[in-house]
Amino acid sequence: MRRIFKFLLSLLILGGAGFWLLSAPTRLDETKLAATTPGDATRGQSVFWQGGCASCHAAPGATGDARLVLSGGEELVTPFGTFVTPNISPANQGIAGWSLSDFANAMTHGVSPDGRHYYPAFPYTSYARMQLQDIADLYAFMKTLPPSENVAGPHKLSFPLTVRRGIGLWKRLYLSDQPVLTIANATDAIKRGQYLVEGPGHCGECHTPRNAIGGPDKTLWLAGAKAAEGKGVVPNITGGEGGIDSWSAQDIAYSLESGFTPDFDSLGGSMADVVQNMSHLQPSDRDAIAAYLKAIPAHANGYPAAQ
């Protein structure tokens, strides 16, 4: 009996140690960061709109220049719980004290300056594919934004999701800096579009269906999904059934600029906000996104049909 007890105890200790080791936060290779040139705030402004930071981190309902005050406080109500977006303005309540290394580790490894995992409601699984120079430029731009001392509240989650360490295991499955798709004979425009969509644009976070533990199903990349927040669905943006095969590349680029579909319906829901970001992009970048979307594998809708 005592032997069995000892055996179970050692299993528990081994399991615990294994969990602790496997769930440990990883950090960026500092030598890669050292290879970047000092951040350019003007370039960073483009990256800011590519990344859509304002959509979640501006105060709820902010419009115009108020979208540049990243005071946080937006509540993302999901089946996993309610995530409250943090203040990321250059203030004491925000990221005034952060080094570039702190910022880059948050963006690409989902790790806070004090070494805690961030919940993947913050789309670092996409931002992990960003070029470090873009992150350095973005960091420089964000330092120029208006500060806010707003205190964004804590997340409202329940056990076991309150155990942040568990996210380390999840990251082992889903955090990668590698491209999602391999596209044969990709033109420069398609490559640029792939970077924007899979990286800073983080389109797949909403347009790709997720499994039970919230991991993206990359076999249905951009095929549309049940909305992570609230009711409804996010559209299929591949060329498959239910998708946007009938849209030309120009139609896609124009929809991102103006919010209008080819038949002059207008994009609604959270995409209306995304259009506010995308309308600031260089026209060639919107064209690149369109070129990529026309080049990706077609899938039928990634969400179940209406009952």
């Binding site: 409804g232 124009y254 209008f260 319906d265 207008s266 209306a272």
Partner: protein, 149 residues
């Protein structure tokens, strides 16, 4: 003859009754109205984009069309309670926060009326009017529309 008049008047009478009470199929009616406005916007968007040359008459025809349709947007008859189910992308928020929805529609009506009154005679003033009108599309659809399937 009297009978003929009576017969031909009957549908008109029915139409009059129909117009003053709730619409029989508000979802179909509001969708038709929205599509009609989209068509009119689509007819002048290429001018705003710079793909077609500016023509004051074309622009005015379209703006008037949008205005006519916009003023028909009556939240009470086109979005009655209970019309949030079926083949519709109307968000429940329309009824949860009806005052905000009505305010958004009123703003749109005012903006379109102002665009017609501005009577744009050149490309720049048209673009201003066009943007003022069409920004309402995204704002309202962001808050009050949800894709369900």
């Amino acid at each position: 003859m009297k009978r003929l008049i009576a017969l031909s008047a009957a549908p008109l009478l029915a139409l009059a009754v129909f117009a003053t009470t709730a619409s029989a199929d508000p979802i179909a009616d509001r969708q038709a109205l929205m599509k009609d406005q989209g068509k009119a916007v689509g007819s002048i968007a290429p001018i705003a984009k710079g793909e077609k040359t500016f023509d004051a008459a074309t622009v005015m025809t379209a703006l008037k069309k949008i205005n006519d349709d916009a003023q028909k947007l009556d939240p009470a008859t086109l979005f009655p309670a209970g019309s949030d189910t079926g083949d519709t992308t109307a968000s429940p928020k329309i009824w949860e926060d009806n005052a905000a929805f009505v305010a958004a529609i009123d703003k749109y009506k005012a903006d379109v009326a102002a665009a017609v009154a501005a009577d744009p005679k050149d490309l720049e003033s048209f673009k201003t009017a066009f943007n003022q009108v069409t920004q309402n599309c995204g704002t309202c659809h962001q808050a009050f529309r949800i894709k369900k399937n």
